[in-house]
């Protein structure tokens, strides 16, 4: 009996592991063609390809690219643990891929090692600018610009002159969201109060809900979050209380269609398409590629029904001014004293 049990339990565990770690098998699109194809391989971080965030957006961008131009062959490998990064990257190198896109700063070390060992192989890494090698392109996003635009929206629609902001973690990269947002809010409404909270977690929805309730109690009528899963609680509390929430990274209006006024989007799909096209055209350039408003790398989400027309005009004007270089959004805490989390 014990042996049967041990077997059953072992099977359970194998099944569980297999379920977590299933699709290491890759799905490739487009039919085989005679002409030489540009092969693009994407390695996800541990978030997986359905993370509703940059892994997913990036993969959707590549799929769209392959659907539109059949000379691209795209593929992904999911990383289940940190140990998979190196293996997945090497799998693509061995299979002769033209470009390996590594999604996320967590892959920085693995990418650097692989790039040093394979100087002929082209790499792109998203959200990391620390690798300075002739075969690595670093795709960075100007999060502060998108946050600035949603800040303008928040500052314009607030009636109580009190807005809220929930951040998932304090780091130089995360602080850019807050700095941009607060700059925007204060520009649209100079005497506004910005309530700020660092949840110190990307997975605490109860904490997000509480923080939002706290801000609403103190009079906030618009709340922006840059806090992943914690933000789910923020958006839901805003939804229940009937105030505006602002989403991040993707168009989050699906979470609460009546109360998400806008989202600060990061177009990882555009970035991964661009770099893939550059490889095909032979214009691949190493170094930092900054995706900002000027090249559509960051923007307001396409759902804009709730934004009043005059506010949208203000936002478009500010966007044009930034693109034209007449205006810049601060990137350091020193330039934005109202930001208190950093």
């Amino acid at each position: 009996m014990k042996k049967i049990l041990a077997l059953v339990l072992a099977l359970c565990m194998v099944f569980a592991l297999a379920a977590c770690g299933s699709s290491s098998s890759s799905s490739s699109s487009s039919a085989p063609a005679a002409a030489a194809k540009t092969k693009i391989g994407m390695v996800t971080d541990v978030g997986g390809v359905n993370d509703k965030s940059f892994n997913q957006t990036s993969w959707e961008g590549l799929q769209a690219l392959a659907a539109e131009d059949s000379s691209f062959e795209v593929n992904y490998l999911e990383s289940k643990t940190d140990a998979d990064y190196q293996t997945n990257i090497n799998t693509f190198i061995d299979e002769g891929y033209d470009l390996v896109i590594c999604v996320g700063y967590m892959l920085a070390d693995a990418t650097r090692e692989a790039a040093e060992a394979n100087p002929e192989q082209k790499f792109a890494i998203i959200d990391d600018s620390s690798i300075d090698l002739p075969n690595v392109a670093c795709l960075m996003f100007a999060q502060e610009q998108a946050s600035y635009l949603v800040g303008l929206v928040a500052g314009s629609v607030t009636e109580s002159k009190t807005v809220g902001y929930v951040q998932g973690m304090v780091s130089d990269a995360m602080n850019l969201f807050g700095i941009g947002y607060i700059t925007g809010v204060l520009e649209a409404c100079p005497d506004a109060t910005v309530l700020q909270y660092n949840a110190n977690s990307f997975g605490d929805s109860a904490g997000g809900s509480t923080a939002a309730k706290d801000m609403i109690t103190k009079g906030a009528d618009v709340i922006y979050h840059a806090a992943g899963g914690t933000g789910m609680g923020v958006i839901e509390a805003c939804n229940e209380e009937g105030i505006w929430a602002i989403g991040v990274d993707t168009d989050q209006s699906i979470l609460a269609p009546d109360h998400v006024i806008t989202s600060a989007m990061k177009r990882v799909d555009v970035a991964s398409q661009d770099i893939s096209k550059a490889v095909k055209d032979g214009t691949f350039a190493a170094g930092v590629h900054m995706y900002d408003l000027s090249n559509g790398g960051v923007d307001l989400a396409p759902t804009r029904d709730h934004i009043p027309a005059d506010v949208l005009e203000t936002v478009e004007a500010a966007k044009a001014a930034i693109i034209a270089g007449e205006k810049s959004v601060p990137t350091s805490t020193a330039d934005c004293p109202a930001f208190t989390l950093g």
Binding site: M1, V8, S23
Partner: protein
């Protein structure tokens, strides 16, 4: 004064919102542990409930059917644990660990098949567990806002306090409860008195899973509106800690969960207004729990036969 009332209201709100899922799970854990089966699979059962609850609510449009099915999904995993540990006499800790791996594994696989994503589709307002007393209080006044924050809470929150009362009554005022406790203390004695220990334990582990499943469903059907792989991260283990903290009694588990919830509320209020380092503030719930454990609670007495498989005498 206004500030104080506001902050106090928020702390109570947070206490309730954090406590609810933990308390369901902790009551579940009580059932299993008191009957003599160690159940560290609570986390996996919560995950199963969290996923099933939202999915069923989404397709039926009825939050209560969803909530109930969340519980049943937890009970299903409870049954697996019971078959392994009670009937087959497997190591209870290892079987619980297997449940913790199996639960999220199966759930994520089903989610990928159903939604082509690891997340479920967000629930609409009518599919969520409703808030009671909504709009009863005038939130324009400070007092009304306080009352709204504290009392306009999810129905699941009111239910869990009722559940504590029921579990307490069952444990200490019914024949079933007496037998249940006896099974965890001295199963051999129970057997000689004609109580079917195996059936008792089997049932209790299933109830344990059911309650844990309800706890999971609260997270995805009340606090947020969708299941994500990060919906249940550690709540199950905190619930088990609350049970040990509460000396394996439902009323003790209630205090443990409330304390943890209260400290989490304190964290939000302090983190939002003071200049104290957030890393330090985030430690409050855990540090306070440890201090209270050392200073006030004293030694927790584990049911004597807890963790020991019961073999019927021939």
């Amino acid at each position: 004064m206004t500030n104080f009332i506001n902050n106090f209201g928020i702390i109570l709100y947070a206490t309730l919102i954090y406590t609810t899922p933990l308390l369901y799970a902790a009551l579940g854990s009580c059932f299993s542990e008191v009957s003599g089966v160690v159940n560290i699979g609570i986390e996996g059962m919560m995950t199963a409930g969290a996923f099933t609850g939202t999915v069923v609510a989404y397709f039926t449009g009825n939050p209560w059917i969803g909530f109930l099915c969340g519980g049943l999904a937890g009970a299903f995993f409870g049954m697996l644990h019971a078959i392994a540990t009670v009937n087959l006499g497997a190591d209870q800790t290892i079987a619980g660990t297997a449940i913790n791996m199996l639960g999220p594994g199966i759930v994520i696989m089903i989610a990928k098949v159903m939604f082509n994503s690891t997340d479920t589709i967000p629930l609409e307002a009518s599919m969520k567990i409703p808030r009671l007393f909504r709009g009863v209080f005038d939130t324009a006044t400070v007092f009304g806002r306080f009352m709204d924050n504290v009392f306009a809470n999810y129905a699941s929150t009111y239910l869990v306090f009722l559940a504590v009362l029921i579990v307490w009554f069952v444990f200490y005022k019914t024949r079933f409860g007496l037998r249940l406790r006896a099974c965890g203390e001295h199963p051999q004695a129970c057997e000689t008195l004609g109580i079917n220990v195996l059936r008792m334990r089997f049932l209790c582990v299933c109830i344990s899973g059911f309650l844990a499943g309800l706890g999971g469903a609260c997270v995805t059907m009340a606090i947020s509106t969708q299941f994500r792989p990060i919906s249940i991260v550690g709540q199950g283990f905190i619930a088990i800690a609350a049970v040990i903290f509460g000396k394996f009694r439902p009323q003790g588990a209630l205090l443990g969960c409330l304390l943890f919830g209260f400290c989490s509320g304190l964290k939000v209020v302090l983190g939002g207004s003071s200049g104290v380092n957030m890393q330090l503030i985030s430690m409050i719930p855990y540090v306070v729990t440890v201090i209270v454990l050392i200073l006030f609670v004293g030694k927790s007495r584990v049911p004597s036969a807890n963790g020991k498989p019961f073999v019927k005498s021939k």
